[in-house]
């Protein structure tokens, strides 16, 4: 008995782990290396996200106290608050959480493979193209293809075009970005053109959607997005060690036995899926893809590729922006896309003019 416990503690001591990491051994063959900082960071983000959710669910024309909201969430609370929280506010909150996480995760992935902090799906025109396709399916062509599918097709088309025109992403991704900006501009113009061809009522109803809003979401598309998000997050964890190699030069990545083409294809596929599905829910709220990963990187002290943290910060930014847009000028509602643009625009300029920025731009 004594002997056995000795052996176990010995074998545990045997493998020294790198500083700041913990080794989780499951049985003989599974040894997972977990970064302590990342776990702590993501736990705090989850707590912050939960608090933001409670506040969001409680605020509106009928304020509900945080304790009451929590009671409802755990299946208690009176019928009235249950109705308001679960049926009226929760769907919008979920739409915000999912779209924020999806945009931000897509942004982090795109920045990683393009090796450029400016290369988010919104900047390189994927958002706009997805929107143009989706709008065309609703108002333009009369073909009633599901907007989700059309948005995905638009996202894929824009990405393929950007890559085709740029001839790969290049080392710093500038060609890719420039090509993408052009595609985004064309797609935006197409959307305007489509909207100008339809009756003023249709165009009006489509308007909040083209600037990015959580008020027009379709339950089916929110569910689709939720499922897509879960799958993409799992895939990100699965491929995280390969994504972590992307900041190295192509020579080093290949030398270490990873396949750059595969990594790019995987990341782009995830990116297109996330962006397409999210645009189908909320329209182009692309600046979240810029702001979310940046906050995550600051929290991670610029170490590694904070994929999970990006998803969490993106969700947080999105629901806070939506909360702000709903409450600040209440009863007038500002579309969340406008709020993020007002916050994200100056931020973008700040990144561009900040001279002390490291070599990663």
């Amino acid at each position: 008995m004594n002997n056995q416990s000795l052996v176990i503690s010995d074998s545990k001591q045997e493998i020294p782990t790198p500083q700041g990491y913990r080794l989780f051994s499951i049985g003989e063959h599974a040894h997972l290396l977990i970064e302590k900082q990342a776990v702590i960071r993501n736990t705090w983000l989850l707590i912050a996200l939960f608090c933001a959710c409670v506040v969001t669910l409680g605020s509106g024309t009928m304020p509900i106290s945080p304790t009451e909201v929590i009671a409802v969430l755990f299946g208690h609370g009176d019928a009235m608050s249950q109705f308001i929280v679960q049926d009226l506010r929760l769907p919008r909150l979920l739409a915000g959480l999912f779209t924020g996480a999806a945009f931000s995760l897509a942004g982090c992935l795109m920045q990683t493979i393009a090796r450029n902090r400016l290369a988010t799906p919104g900047i390189i025109g994927i958002d706009n193209a997805a929107m143009a396709f989706a709008v065309s399916s609703i108002v333009g062509t009369g073909i009633s293809l599901a907007p989700s599918a059309m948005a995905l097709a638009g996202a894929a088309t824009a990405t393929a075009l950007a890559f085709g025109l740029a001839g790969g992403s290049g080392t710093r991704g500038y060609r890719f970005i420039v090509a993408g900006i052009g595609i985004g501009a064309i797609a935006g113009a197409v959307t305007q053109l489509l909207l100008s061809q339809v009756s003023i009522d249709v165009a009006n109803s489509a308007y909040p959607w083209t600037v990015g809003s959580l008020s027009a979401r379709e339950p089916l598309m929110v569910n689709l997005l939720g499922a897509g998000l879960v799958i993409c997050l799992v895939a990100c964890l699965f491929f995280s060690t390969q994504f972590a190699l992307m900041p190295f030069s192509d020579q080093v990545i290949t030398g270490l036995g990873a396949n750059i083409k595969h990594i790019r294809i995987i990341a782009l596929t995830l990116c297109i899926t996330l962006t397409g599905l999210a645009v189908a829910v909320a329209g182009p709220v692309g600046l979240v893809a810029l702001v979310g990963p940046e906050i995550a990187r600051v929290l991670a002290k610029y170490r590694g590729i904070p994929l999970v943290s990006s998803a969490l910060t993106g969700a947080l930014v999105m629901i806070l922006a939506d909360l702000f847009g709903r409450t600040v000028l209440s009863p007038i509602e500002l579309p969340v896309g406008i709020v993020t643009a007002v916050v994200g625009g100056p931020y973008l300029i700040w990144i561009l003019v900040r001279r002390s920025s490291r070599n990663s731009l």
Partner: protein, 277 residues
């Protein structure tokens, strides 16, 4: 008479065992042919030094041999198989490349950089094992970095950073190691240390190739020299056979005299004068 024809017999008949080589290899940058129809192989268990003027294609050759640069025609053979048909991770367990230009992720420490060298030995379910730590410790010692291992890479001097990259390729624990100018930024002491390390690794049975610009070091620390000019191998063989004043003139346009080092016998260049040919 050119050096090429002087040594022609040595080019066509390599008489050694080899794990890594290429036949009829053509490497292009875009449409420009850098290396054409080249046959080359690295003697097994030996140190090969590749010398030649700037831009002659040394790095391109190493990239081609390490499957980083795909050939336009011809084939690179690793243990008798086409390197591009082997699983990349499998290749990375046999062959490591230290590139000339390096670019690392932001904010990582030396030890973290070296840990990336273990990537080919790890998998989703085996993210860390005893041999990973041992390999990293060995590499840290070998590159004299134990005292610096927790420093951020960005905050190091050029030579310290170069040693960190050498350590990373050592941690990969491959039987074949291709090093592109491993000592270009190192002070005299660390240069010698890295060369001795390379010697030691070859004594352990590893096959090494290094691009070196310093001819005396190339002669002293290698068993085999490949001299390149304009994408072609103009001569190869043991340092004693290959290193002549004609070769130095042919490669670099420099007149010189060669005298043997009184202690080791390996050649030293004196009386150097640039002549334009």
């Amino acid at each position: 008479m050119t050096v090429t024809s002087l040594h022609n017999d040595k080019i066509s008949h390599p008489t050694f065992q080899s794990r890594l080589g290429a036949s009829k290899l053509t490497l292009k940058h875009g449409k420009v042919c850098i290396i054409e129809n080249l046959d080359v192989s690295l003697p097994e268990g030996k140190v090969t030094a590749i010398v030649g003027p700037n831009g002659c294609g040394k790095s391109t050759l190493l990239n081609g041999l390490s499957r980083v640069h795909a050939p336009s025609s011809g084939v690179v053979l690793l243990d008798g198989k086409d390197i591009h048909c082997l699983p990349s991770k499998e290749v990375a367990r046999r062959l490591a490349l230290l590139p000339q230009d390096t670019l690392a992720p932001d904010g990582i420490t030396i030890e973290e950089l070296i840990r990336f060298g273990r990537h080919p030995h790890q998998s989703l379910l085996k993210q860390w094992a005893m041999d990973d730590q041992q390999a990293i410790d060995y590499a840290l010692d070998a590159a004299d970095l134990q005292g610096l291992k927790d420093r951020l890479l960005d905050t190091l001097s050029g030579g310290q950073r170069q040693r960190a990259w050498i350590a990373m390729s050592i941690a990969q624990e491959t039987p074949l190691l291709l090093l592109d100018e491993p000592t270009s930024a190192l002070d005299l002491g660390h240069q010698i240390e890295v060369f001795e390390l390379i010697r030691n690794l070859s004594r352990q049975g590893k096959t090494l190739a290094m691009v070196v610009h310093d001819l005396p070091s190339a002669c002293r620390y290698s068993d085999h020299i490949i001299a390149m000019k304009k994408g072609e191998i103009i001569t190869q063989g043991s340092p004693k056979e290959v290193m002549t004043k004609e070769l130095v003139r042919e490669l670099y346009g420099v007149e010189c005299d060669l005298i043997p080092d009184p202690m080791t016998g390996s050649p030293i260049l004196i009386n150097m004068k640039r002549v334009r040919s």
